[in-house]
Amino acid sequence: MNERIEVKVAGGISGFAEDKDAAKELRKSTILPSLLAHDTVVLDFSGITSSTQSFVHALIAEPLQQFGESVLSRLEFRSCAPQIKSLVGLVVDYSLGGFSTTPSDPMDVGTRRPNKKRTSEKPVKVHRKRKSA
């Protein structure tokens, strides 16, 4: 019977996971052998608030390249912070097929945090006198 293997992904201090060597070790020692044995692997990202694309790539790109899209039915991601979800989506997509074209249009990365709302002050009307003829 195939097993369900829980893999805790270790984050660094302050919940930032960037140690590619650790990711590679986890991939080689646990993730790939488990998937080869037709087990289901659950990657548990609890406690990790952010990471690098390099880290997520080192963790999952090889299984995706080796097993293809079908591995997604046996590779699960638990407790992912929003930024981790974006990174996983990015790495999954380019690992399984790349991107259609070299992006030629610039990417708008204007995602700045909005400034605090100002207090609702009514605009001051300025009455201008008409120049007399």
């Binding site: 991939r27 390099s54 790109a61 997509d93 790349g98 991107f99 259609s100 990365v109 700045r112």
Partner: protein, 335 residues
């Protein structure tokens, strides 16, 4: 290209040596020289300001000098900025004698002093100190942006540079004009051209092409990968995302390798932060060709802390604007 016009390695530091004025620093110098003569670090007599890019470059240059068995002698190290340089660890890394810091109340530092990073463990130690040393504990998005840039820039050195001395890194948080964290990582390894040449022959002996390629998404020296790597350990996205983070916050980004210097200047007010696949398409860029070569790579990025993007949204924005051949995102099982 090692200098032939001087008989010793010599690094001149102008009175302002920053990412903004980096051109002055680079064009005033030809710091590498094929000799065993003692090297010279010459500070401007009234030197006042060195930001992380100058600090990291000076430290990496010092490491190169030591590898070449050139001791470093320094001139004009006194002055009002001496204490700062001592605290940053510059003279210690250069093995330059200096006055000990007098016992006095130290102001809150807000900097990561120069560190030599040779291993993943060294890098983890640097990353672990970012929050406390830069006082970013209450600014989680800025902290994540800074950690991201430091990690990717140093990993590039550890994995691709072949640098004997590893990477030299430092960072400084400025509270005004504008509030920002300036990060720099320097090495004296192979340089980008040599690293990419195996997979991209057009980068061989052409530092401009090498820099252009290195900043694109999916270009890595690790394997001949074409666009978007099939490599298991590298995807060639570290410099792309670091450049994008600097751009998203409106900060400077600079990359120097060989005789090529690339820089993106700060955003103007109300200017959209657009990240170009080819960094040379960015209207805010500069490129200079030096008359000498930096034997390795220097990378620097500014994170303007008031403009740090919402990190998840930032990555979501990038992902959404890179259309995949076939998106399988909906098949990913998030529990």
């Amino acid at each position: 290209m090692l200098c032939e016009s001087q008989d010793m390695p010599k690094l001149l530091i102008p009175n302002e040596a920053s990412i903004r004025t980096i051109r002055n620093l680079l064009f005033a110098n030809s710091p590498f020289c094929d000799t065993n003569s003692p090297a010279q670090l010459v500070m401007h007599p009234k030197w006042a300001f060195m930001d992380p890019i100058a600090m990291a470059m000076a430290a990496a240059w010092g490491g190169w000098c030591q590898r070449k068995h050139c001791s470093v002698k320094a001139e004009n190290v006194g002055g009002p900025s001496q204490k700062y340089a001592i605290r940053m660890g510059l003279f210690e890394h250069l093995n330059v004698p200096h006055d000990p810091l007098v016992a006095e109340h130290e102001e809150a530092g807000r900097f990561i002093p120069l560190k030599q990073v040779k291993t993943s463990s060294d890098l983890a130690a640097v990353i672990g100190n970012v929050s406390a040393l830069l006082h970013l504990d209450k600014e989680p998005h800025a902290l994540q942006a800074v950690q991201y840039c430091i990690s990717e820039l140093i990993r590039n050195v550890l994995e691709h540079s072949g640098s004997v001395e590893g990477a030299y890194v430092c960072a400084q948080r400025y509270t005004s004009d504008p509030p920002r964290v300036s990060i720099a990582v320097a090495d004296c390894g192979f340089g980008i051209s040599s690293t990419l040449a195996y997979s991209y022959p057009q980068a061989a002996n052409d530092d401009k092409v090498a820099l252009q390629l290195a900043m694109q998404l999916g270009i890595t020296g690790a394997v001949k990968s074409g666009l978007y790597a099939s490599a298991t350990d590298n995807a060639g996205a570290g410099l792309f995302f670091t450049r994008a983070i600097a751009k998203a916050t409106g900060g400077y980004f600079a990359l120097l390798s060989g005789n090529g210097v690339f820089r993106i200047r700060r955003l103007r007010k109300n200017e959209k932060p657009l990240v170009y696949h080819d960094a040379f398409d960015d209207r805010r860029h500069n490129f200079w060709t030096l008359g000498w070569s930096w034997p390795g790579t220097v990378a620097a990025a500014e994170v303007l802390t008031q403009n740090v993007p919402n990190f998840p949204k930032f990555f979501q924005a990038i992902v959404q604007q890179l259309p995949p051949k076939k998106s399988v995102t909906e098949k990913i099982k998030f529990l």
